[in-house]
Amino acid sequence: MSTPSHSPVAGKTFGVTVTHLTKKFGRTTVLQDINLEIAPGETFVIMGPSGSGKSVLLKHIAGLEQPTSGEVRIGSFDAADPATRSKIRLALVFQAGALFNSLSVYDNLALYLREHRLADEAGIRERVMHALTILSLEKSYKKFPSELSGGMKKRVAIARALVMEPQLFIYDEPTSELDPVMSATISEIIGTLREETAVTSIVVTHDRTLALHIADRIAFLIDGRIHAIGKPAEFTDSKDPVITNFLNPVIDLKNPRFKQLENNHE
């Protein structure tokens, strides 16, 4: 990965405060009384098993869901208020990339700048190519999302976020569905951006390697509640069986569940 000569992210960054956040879908409670304080410039990782409510929490921070009760504040702005998006540059890297399939890689990156008239075409080209170079994608700018591999899509999604010069970076499962080499590359990219941009980053993942590599602090979510918050070292040293089982899962082939599966297979 090449490194930029100057930071592509400029301006103020924001902290995030989540206060008594509860979310219900019908009768199902997905998030229950979540309280978080994320400091400006911090890289905060939200971990937890599948279905624990990580992505729903992230959608609330990004203002894509309305809380049932409680609130999320980005700096002093209410994340649920659509007007907040015109005050804060928030970049969300979606789990599946969420690239615009009808647009080329170049146009995907240029869209934000064009729609907000932030530069003329020459300026847009410079910023887009700079972001693509950071992510080693400069040769793929003409391609369409359908022509890209899963790892390339994630990198384009990160480049698209980078072009926005965000004041808050949010990643949703950035290494999911990737092979170990590509996961390591994405982890390295996020780590480098963290070093170079000093922008608040919130990463939702169940990838322990990524979490321990990039996090200043980690929140561990189970069944819509925060089970623990702490520094990566506190998690690796934890004696809590829930956390140790998640971080170091042991596959016991003598477990009755496996025996049952074996019998079913026969």
């Binding site: 990004a62 203002g63 599946a96 615009f100 399939n101 907000h116």
Partner: protein, 251 residues
Amino acid sequence: MMNQLTAVIGHIGSVVLLLLRTLSFAPTLRRQFPRFIEQCYLIGYNSLPIVTILTFFIGSVLALQSGYSMENFGAKQFIGSLVGLSVTRELGPVMVAILIAGRVGSAITAELASMKVYQEVDALITMNIPPERMLVLPRLAAILVMMPVLTLIGIICGWYGGALICQYTHFISIDSETYFAALKRYMDWKDITDGLLKAEVFGFVIVLVCCHIGLNTRGGPREIGASVTKAVVTSLILILVLDYFVTKALI
């Protein structure tokens, strides 16, 4: 029953909100000009062949049926006016609208539903690019321009379809001059403008409803199909219901 009624009222309110939000971006239409042109091409140019074929045969069948019936009481000379008025005031706008619902409405819903399911719409929102401005406004503007054009072409094709059948069917045998003379005698410009106005209303409602259903799709790929079905069925019902009210208002 009460729940269903509440749901219907909720949907209507939601469509009206979408319309108001879209209209609030109307001053930015100039910036959406390339997308507007693209939508005009997709809605108008791509629908043209099927509109001409469909309306031509509607005019033909109408002439054939009315010629067969009217021959019995010696009123064949009025076939031109019957076909002209029917195609202009009713069948042209309605059939073009049904075609647009099936062809354009389904495509719009599928595209927007797919964008919603695969989080492209969420990506736009986080980029502070309102989906109403980028996705709905160009489509609404394009249908407002293309619907009268398509309907007018459809009406003319219907007239000529009728004329052709009248001339070359042995039990009718009315030449084109007689056919068009009857057509002109009992028609005026208001019939054409009423027909185009009807089509305009249908097209606008179809695109608005299809955009709304597409943008409100939740779930996975299966829901995209369900949304398309819902959008086409809703559009067809609305076309026929609105047809009554608009016709009544125009008479």
